[in-house]
């Protein structure tokens, strides 16, 4: 590897310091807390205790996975259409995707709750139109909806990015060689957009699995996700060690999920892989 010049090192140093202070050091703290008890003695008690939280953890990963798949199916066509349209339209659509992100996630989720309540805006409109009311809030569906709604821009952006850079002549060549639309999609577009899918998948899956605010507001707290349980340990139970142990295990599980995911998008050339 080429040796970095002093200038390069200097330019990189602010971020390295930042990362060390706010990423590496906190991670070390998490690891430390997860392996010690309240008095600072080494223990594996908390890590061993996570068996009791197995169902909550599986449920979180499952809901996060569903939300990610839904986001992918919604975002993929949109990103494709965006990348294909005129520069002006692209800008407008980009704006519309980004617009909700100008508002804070907590506010968006809170307003979602007010919309979806049994006495909320949607149901008031339905009542006014003499239509039967829908029960939406406090269900797993509402939580998944909240995740998709909040995190879908993170799926659209990488997909759009990769698709707008895609070499259109490859698609034309495939069409010239007699490939029908399905073949072109399966063998050209999909494999070329795989890196976008992979980063979109990560960027939606990870925050969805570890979310706590969305499940609290839209799930009504009657079923907990792992994020809620971790938050509770830090916020009110004053059990930092258990919270840290749960976070560690969650991190490991997410890394395993990402590794499985990367098997599909890895180095080699092969196509025709659907998730």
């Amino acid at each position: 590897m080429k040796k970095r010049s002093l200038g390069e090192k200097l330019v990189a140093s602010p971020y390295i310091v930042w990362a060390a202070m706010f990423i590496i050091v906190p991670l070390i703290f998490v690891a430390y807390y997860s392996l010690t008890d309240a008095n600072g003695n080494f223990t594996l008690e908390y890590i061993a205790d996570i068996g009791r939280y197995k169902d909550v953890m599986l449920n979180s990963i499952w809901l996060g996975f569903i939300a990610t798949v839904i986001s992918l199916f919604l975002a993929y066509p949109l990103a494709y259409i965006m990348a294909r349209s005129k520069a002006n339209t692209q800008r407008t659509m980009m704006m519309l995707v980004m617009l909700p992100m100008w508002m804070n996630l907590l506010i968006r989720t809170y307003s979602m709750m007010i919309l979806m309540q049994d006495t909320g805006v949607i149901n008031s409109v339905l009542t006014a139109l003499n239509l039967p009311n829908l029960h939406m809030i406090n269900t797993q569906g509402a939580v998944v909806f909240g995740m998709v709604y909040n995190y879908i821009p993170y799926m659209i952006l990488p997909l759009y990015n990769i698709m707008s850079k895609m070499d259109h002549s490859l698609i034309e060549a495939a069409e010239d060689l007699g490939g029908n639309k399905v073949t072109v999609f399966k063998d050209i577009i999909l494999p070329l957009s795989m890196p976008g899918i992979a980063s979109g998948f990560t960027m939606v899956f990870v925050p969805s699995v570890s979310t706590f605010y969305i499940s609290k507001k839209l799930g009504g707290n009657t079923f907990s996700l792992i994020g809620d349980v971790i938050e509770m340990q830090f916020k009110s139970s004053n059990n930092y060690n258990l919270g840290a142990a749960l976070s560690m295990v969650l991190m490991v599980l997410i890394i395993i999920c990402m590794m499985v995911m990367n098997r599909f998008t890895g180095d080699d050339d092969d196509g025709g892989v659907l998730i």
């Binding site: 939280y53 499952w62 007010i114 907990s224 349980v229 009110s236 139970s237 930092y240």
Partner: protein, 402 residues
Amino acid sequence: MKKILAVCFILLIVCTLPMSASAYENESYYKGLEGAVINVFNWGELISDTYEDGMLDVNKEFEKLTGIKVNYVTYESNEDMYPKIKNGGASYDIIIPSDYMIQRMIDEDMLMEIDADALPNYKYVSEEYRNMYYDPDNAYSVPYNVGMVGLIYNKTMVEEEPTSWTALWDERYAGKILMIDNPRDAFAIPQKILGYSLNSTDEKELSDVAQMLIEQKPLLQGYVMDEIYNKMESGEAAMVPYYVGDYILMKDVNPDLGFVYPKEGVNIFVDAMCIPKCTQNYEAALLYINFMLDPEIALSNALYIGYATPNVGVLEHPDYAEMRENQYLYPDKENMPEVEYFHNLPQETLHMFSQLWNEIRIYGSDNTHIYVGFALVGLAVVFFMVKKYITKRKREYWYNSI
């Protein structure tokens, strides 16, 4: 035009006159710490912060009077407040915990001593709330408000007015019941139904209580604290066990709300002002406590937060006469429910509390569909991996053959 303006000005001056004239007692007591900053950590909705209806914005008034800047932060429950003080990192000068939490913090040496006799306004603290069990010598705390937990319900959503805590287990109201989101208050309800003490340390009793809460879970809409304002005022939920002061605030918005002290008995509590050991401005904190005891200020707070007050100056104030008659705040002898205070519990019991509370909170319905789902995803993953591998081998074979 000029005349109108002049009249407006005069009106404005006349209107603001009585306000600026209402001097606080011992104003000179508050001088000398201009420019200091204090951090106040209080419950949500537990201080007057408006000039409407003749009330005073307490923190603004304090800043005006003393020149000390107030940083005001809120918490939702004693259990939320405790770790923030215990683990350091933040520095607060005033906290307002409840009785059992004060007892715990005194035990763990987390509070500064307060010399009550040095506070000119301490004379307003009612004898009834001095020398309480949690602080027998009045050495660490100054009472702020008194309240009880009762059952708030929406009259239009219940078939008959509830009189017992068991209404919270009534299947007719499934999905419309809210539960209070902190372990002590939540456990207190089954404890009362089962006739146990709120301060039980018996393991079997506690696990019975946890079992009841687990059975209740499918009927619940959620566990909430300050959010009940939104949920009860809008008619989203039919009933919730909560503090009486908050009922009095909510009833102004939604007159359909009713309140009852269930027959099994209720928890009574005192919230009191304390100075934690992490304080950085002890003197200013004392001024703040004394200011909160001033009858004018205590009156604003009592009117705003809707709890009973331990302040004699307020109880005798003519503006408070209407509240004084409120049967929920100051019940007569015959209406007085059976009450019990929370006490601090030994470490093992506290540990068991938090473990049971965890179990209640993670208890979920059947998870089989998730296992099936994961199995299907796993199968799909294996299938595609195998397929990929075969294609690769075929291709290699093809390359090698040419």
